[in-house]
């Protein structure tokens, strides 16, 4: 029991930090002179802050080191609790919104999924829009990483939490000797690139609010937009190009960006096998899909085809989920190929979702190893990625992860089918939620949104987003008997 209270203690502290996130929409509300919205946000902030302080103070006696088990518990509780608190302003400002939909929206924000149940985005109060996008941005690098970064004396097992939240199979890449230092550096890189993104979008002709919002969504690979027609609203090749560039930056491991900035040399990109494979696959797919669309006559001009194919493909593949056209109308091969890329191309340590490039590489190499083993039974053939030997234990954990991943897709798809959704919508809704991508096809396609789903279906998708962001194991471990056995 004492340990559980320790979790609550740490949770309280994190909520206190999280309540600072309300400052941005508060300022926005002031700037745009929306006093009612301002009051609502202030209320929400105070509620969050008070709950946090209360939790922290009441359990102060139990302050202490967290065990591995409770680290998992804290991460999951935090990732379910935060979106719950984040719904407060939505519920207060948009009175007709149900809790289910509000929770879906905030979960979609913080897991960087970017799927929405709201329509009339263009007319929402600016503060609400900014709030949604800020959630995208915070969730991208990870709120716990942030807390570990700014509160090194948190008294919680920082490294454990860091590992539980950061995606990827191998999490021991130590950039700096101290985990707090590592976390801080990652956030500094993240903030720097985001500021670059905001300024370039502003220069490209967006308003300040749009620039900030879209930069947040692009860097977090979330994909929220302030407009119902998403990026299509701007109809500007320059903006599409800039967003593409920053999405491609965000899909690379931020640790690699950090090394590049620290060494002032791009050598680190060249030796990052994930970055190379991701960019290679995305580029090849862009050109391929553009040719396909042009050949199929969807766009009469190749350049137009290339523009729309590359923006939407990059957006979906990187798991952002912006759209500039209704790509669901394209021949089915193209959108399905994009959904497949979503699942695979993001790097570990990036803000993207899916099974991650490193796991894809491990799987491909493992298949190659099996072939070699059949031909040369005596061969000693360790798995090597980028010249580094990957221990077999990692290979096994990747195989385990992939198995769970596909089991989750299959079972959640069945659940949605039982609830009455059609096959394409069910499958793509699960894929898009689990990979934190956003739009699927069919009912949940880029032209519509998740509003059409029943409450039950919405909860299923919400759950898929959560386990997708925390990479399945972290969440599902709470449902195993071993976890609760002393």
């Amino acid at each position: 029991m004492g340990r559980t209270l320790t979790v609550i203690h740490a949770l309280g502290l994190m909520l206190v930090v999280f309540s600072a996130a309300y400052l941005m929409p508060l300022i926005t509300a002031l700037i745009y002179d929306q006093s009612e919205v301002f009051q609502d946000f202030l209320m929400a902030m105070l509620l969050t802050l008070t709950s946090g302080v209360l939790m922290w103070a009441v359990t102060y006696r139990y302050k202490g080191e967290l065990s591995i088990r409770h680290g998992f518990l804290l991460v999951v509780v935090m990732w379910t609790g935060m979106p719950a608190f984040a719904t407060l302003p939505l519920l207060m400002v948009l009175s007709e919104l149900s809790f289910t939909d509000a929770y879906f929206e905030t979960m979609s924000g913080i897991t960087t999924t970017g799927a929405t149940v709201l329509t009339g985005l263009d007319t929402l109060p600016s503060a609400i829009n900014l709030w949604r996008h800020e959630l995208n941005w915070l969730g991208g690098m990870g709120i716990i990483v942030l807390v570990v970064a700014i509160l090194p004396l948190l008294g919680v097992g920082g490294r454990q939490l860091f590992k539980a939240e950061t995606p990827g199979p191998m999490k021991d890449a130590a950039l700096t000797p101290r985990i707090a230092e590592t976390a801080r550096n990652l956030w500094i890189v993240y903030v720097t690139i985001t500021i670059l993104c905001i300024s370039s979008l502003k220069l490209a002709g967006m308003s300040w609010l749009d620039a900030v919002c879209h930069a947040f969504a692009a860097m977090g690979l979330g994909g929220f937009s302030t407009h119902d027609s998403s990026v299509g609203y701007f109809n500007s090749p320059l903006i599409e190009f800039l967003l593409m560039v920053f999405m491609l930056i965000a899909v690379i491991n931020f640790a690699t960006h950090f090394v590049v900035l620290r060494n002032r040399s791009i050598a680190a990109y060249r030796s990052d096998p994930e970055a190379l494979s991701s960019l290679g696959v995305i580029l090849a797919s862009c050109v391929g899909i553009a040719f396909f669309l042009w050949w199929q006559g969807v766009y009469p001009e190749f350049l137009t085809a290339l523009r729309h194919a590359s923006f939407n493909l990059v957006s979906i593949a990187t798991s952002s989920g912006f759209a500039s056209v209704d790509y669901a109308q394209w021949p089915i091969f193209a959108p399905l190929w994009m959904m497949l890329l979503t699942a695979t191309v993001a790097s570990a340590g990036s803000t993207g979702g899916g099974i991650k490039m490193i796991r894809t590489l491990v799987l491909i190499k493992q298949a190659g190893r099996e072939f070699v083993k059949l031909l040369h039974p005596a061969a000693v053939n360790p798995m090597k990625i980028g010249g580094q030997v990957i221990p077999n234990s990692v290979v096994f954990s990747v195989l385990g992860f992939i198995f769970l991943y596909f089991m989750v897709i299959a079972s959640l798809t069945f659940v949605l089918l039982i609830s009455g959704l059609d096959f394409i919508s069910a499958l793509t809704a699960v894929l898009a939620s689990l990979n934190n991508c956003g739009p699927g096809l069919g009912v949940v396609g880029p032209a519509s949104n998740y509003q059409g789903l029943t409450d039950f279906q919405t909860w299923v998708c919400t759950f898929a987003m959560l386990i997708g962001r925390l990479e399945i194991f972290t969440v599902l471990i709470l449902f195993t008997p071993q976890f609760w056995r002393r």
Partner: protein
């Protein structure tokens, strides 16, 4: 010359043996008394048991009046420290260290006067690896030795029917390929040397040594024998220092399979090597060899530490149909036994690597020494200094130089240019002259001839 050798391992004892025979005073230090006792039994030298990097031990071994320190222990670090000590405390004039780790070798500033004071570093494994790589590049050759940083090469090849030169006099070589300059330095017929003249007729089975610019090797080889198809598949047995280096050097250009017995070593090798297929097993296991299609292998190299295993596995490979087999054999008795039989090339590591050390011990400015025919003959690269007065070589035509019988000037390297040694070629100062000596007894005379007379300084 007083020489102090640190380390009585394979390299140390081989060097000691060669140097003793060249009338030097040798002291050997090693921490293993048994090894030293064995060495002392065979050779006329002094030994001392102790730590090679300890000043008191070095003093006891007489480092104060030593002319040359040869640090060839197993450990790079001990060798470097010993050189540093010799330079800082005892002013030893020449310090040579065996350095194996590329980590050190890629940072040459470590070895300069301000740091570890290593005058020359040698890496026997690398020399051996380079040597074998050349044999794999030219599978027709018996030996490929490089001079003047690889600009000129001395190649040994056995003449076979199919080569245009076979059955013709040597002068035919020039008329048959006028654009390529090459010179036959020596011919061994039934193991006895012939002095090659323009009218010497090449017979099948002759072992021919020729010198040519490195880029022309293949064309000259074509004259001597029918060419094989170029090497594509290489199989190496033994993943020790040599096998590993060789695999790494070859894996980009050839299909390489490496067989290693030790499972742990296999894992390490497989991690280090990018393209090589590492196999865990016994090189003498004919089932494994067959399963890995040894019959399609172009060059098979047995490079383990064990002579008997190397001989057996290369015999098995040859039997199974490998095109060319190379065996690494340490014991010289075995080398004589095996060479010329079923095994195409019996490599004696001592013979291959000793040359690089001998170059430092010799009198005069000797840039390169290669032992040939198991030490019976020798090829030297000498740098010529002085002028017409102080030197007996400079400014003279080759036929004016008083070379002992059995020694021939094969080629002259002047800057980047490789000039073949014709009777009217004139030697200039700072030329690198490649001299082929059929009998080692004449080496001293040749060296003396090239030395600058006293009074030059």
């Amino acid at each position: 010359m007083k020489i102090l050798i640190l380390g009585a391992g394979q390299v140390g004892s081989n060097v000691a043996e060669s140097l003793v025979s060249e009338a030097n005073d040798i002291t050997v230090i090693d921490s293993d008394g048994v090894k030293l006792a064995l060495l002392q039994e065979r050779l006329d030298l002094r030994t001392l048991v102790g730590n090679a990097s300890s000043p008191s031990v070095l003093e006891q071994a007489g480092i104060n009046d030593t002319d040359m320190l040869l640090a060839v222990t197993q450990s790079d670090e001990v060798n470097m420290v010993a050189c540093k000590l010799a330079a800082s405390l005892y002013n030893t004039p020449t310090r040579i260290a065996r350095i194996r780790s590329t980590d050190y070798l890629t940072r040459p500033e470590l070895f300069n006067k301000d740091n570890f004071c290593v005058d020359f570093s040698i890496c026997p494994e690398q020399i051996l690896t380079d040597y074998i790589s050349k044999l794999i590049e030219f599978p027709e050759a018996l030996q490929v030795l490089q001079f003047a940083q690889g600009k000129a090469s001395l190649v040994a090849v056995r003449a076979f029917t199919g080569g245009p030169l076979v059955g013709n006099p040597l002068s035919f070589l020039h008329s048959h390929m006028p654009h390529v300059d090459a010179r036959v330095a020596a011919i061994f017929r039934k193991n006895s040397p012939l002095i090659p003249e323009g009218d010497t007729v090449v017979e099948e089975g002759d072992e021919i040594f020729f010198i040519a610019a490195s880029k022309n090797i293949r064309e000259v080889l074509k004259e001597m024998r029918r060419m094989d198809r170029p090497t594509r598949r290489v199989m190496i047995v033994g993943g020790g220092n040599i096998g590993r280096r060789l695999a790494r050097a070859l894996e980009q250009d050839y299909q390489v399979k490496l067989i290693e017995f030790n499972k742990k070593a296999c894992n390490k090798l497989a991690g280090e090597l990018a393209k090589t297929l590492v196999l865990n097993g016994d090189g003498t296991d004919e089932k494994l060899l067959q399963q890995e299609s040894v019959d399609e292998v172009d060059v098979f190299c047995a490079l383990t530490n064990d002579d008997e295993n190397n001989i057996m596995s290369s015999l098995l490979a040859k039997q199974a149909g490998a095109r060319k087999v190379i065996a690494l054999i340490n014991r010289s008795a075995y080398v004589d036994l095996v060479q010329g039989g079923k095994i195409d090339i019996a490599l004696s590591p001592a013979q291959v690597t000793i040359g690089s050390l001998l170059a430092y011990v010799r009198q005069g400015d000797v840039a390169e020494v290669h032992s040939l025919r198991r030490g019976a003959a020798e090829a030297l690269e000498l740098v010529v200094h002085g002028d017409r007065k102080s030197s007996r070589v400079v400014g003279r035509r080759i036929d004016e130089i008083d070379l002992p019988k059995g020694a021939t000037i094969g080629a002259v390297v002047r800057g980047d240019e490789v000039i073949m040694g014709h009777h009217d070629t004139r030697i200039e100062a700072e030329d690198h002259v490649i001299v082929f000596v059929v009998n080692k007894a004449m080496v001293k005379k040749v060296e003396k001839l090239f030395q600058v007379n006293l009074g030059f300084f």
